[in-house]
Symmetry: C2
Subunit: 203 residues, 2 copies
DNA sequence: ATTATCTATAGATCTATAGATAATGC
DNA sequence: ATTATCTATAGATCTATAGATAATGC
């Protein structure tokens, strides 16, 4: 019922893995943060890898609904894209370590690749096909500039996530304060909308 | 004179650190790839950390000249920006692991932050100030849309590096072949120019 | 009876060095 | 003499488990 210790371990594992990645996290760190005995981690989750996979799967799943809104939504194309940029951006603001975490682990763990594929492949293909058809039609009727769905999604994600993947770098490099950084992040959202819509729509 | 073993170790360390990062690379791996005895790594470089710092510094230094071309160059603004996007892009094509490597290590090693700062801080501040003044003037004379130097540089770097940081992810996810991926990368260069110049210049 | 927790430690892995030996430079 | 290379191993760190003990559920 309570599952207090078990949950604490999972929570602590999430904190540690998300901030340091699999390789640099130790099971002792996790147990310490969970305020529990080291042996209990293995008692409940068998192995470090197993515990990690649980954390990875949980975090991957939360992203899917975001992408669905790109096609499953009654708004007109322009508003729908703007909405996606903003919702995706806000999600990353709430989960700033997630993009780096996913990239990092997919690059270093074959299991993560498979999990990612299994959960994403069909949904991404579907969204891509739908959006591709829509973009082509809008282009042929002269409403937007020519762009593929892949490139459009790519540009949105790039502009949105880089603030959180590379920005800790820039922040430390340029001695930017926490307040300045938050101000920068907030105006990036509007900037990204301007840049992407500017790419799509003739002025 | 020859320094063959010593150089081999440094070369191997660069391969290993760039592809796996500090934490997931072992000194035994490096020695094996260098085709030398494990003990020689410590004989020549004292410690793993020391060897890593050498690799990091070397790779950091090569980036600086790229950024200088953004202001130290006789081309008009538009061509200069286009040139920077293309040169920066090509550089990453030649060194695809570098962006991830730098981000990864800066996020996990305080020494790397300091090295980065020491080498970049003054030059970045100078370039930023110069470009900021130029952009402001161009905006006031009605030649470009309003944008800060920081945002402009940020958007160029984001669009350019994401193809190489996050794309291995997308490649594996979407089952894209090597050829398709290279084709995608090549057209991204022109795409990024279109997107950035579209952001700057009214049509 | 079953589940949860603890202590203690095995066993694997990794960095680093001591100390012996071989190769090279003057 | 100095530099380069090797073997062997110390010592640190980490994952994982065995086995004892305490807490809980029926």
């Amino acid at each position: 019922m309570e599952k207090k210790t078990e949950d604490n371990i999972l929570w602590a594992a999430e904190q540690e893995f998300l901030s340091k990645g699999f390789a640099r996290t130790t099971t002792a760190d996790i147990a310490k943060l969970a305020g529990t005995n080291h042996a209990l981690l293995h008692y409940y989750y068998r192995s470090k890898e197993n515990l990690f996979i649980k954390v990875f799967e949980k975090n991957i799943q939360t992203i899917i609904p975001l992408f669905c809104s790109l096609t499953d939504n009654n708004l007109p194309l322009k508003e729908r894209i703007q909405n996606f940029i903003e919702v995706h951006f806000d999600y990353i603001v709430q989960n700033p370590r997630l993009p780096y975490f996913i990239i990092n682990e997919i690059l270093s763990n074959a299991n993560c690749v498979q999990i990612f594929q299994k959960q994403f492949q069909s949904i991404i293909n579907e969204i891509n096909a739908k959006l591709e058809a829509e973009l082509r039609q809008e282009y042929e009727t002269g409403h937007i500039n020519n762009i593929t769905a892949g490139n459009l999604i790519y540009e949105i994600i790039s502009l949105n996530i880089c603030a959180f993947v590379a920005m800790p770098v820039a922040t430390q490099l340029l001695n930017i304060s926490q307040e300045e950084y938050l101000r920068f992040v907030q105006q990036r959202k509007a900037e990204n909308v301007v840049t992407i819509l500017g790419r799509l729509y003739k002025k």
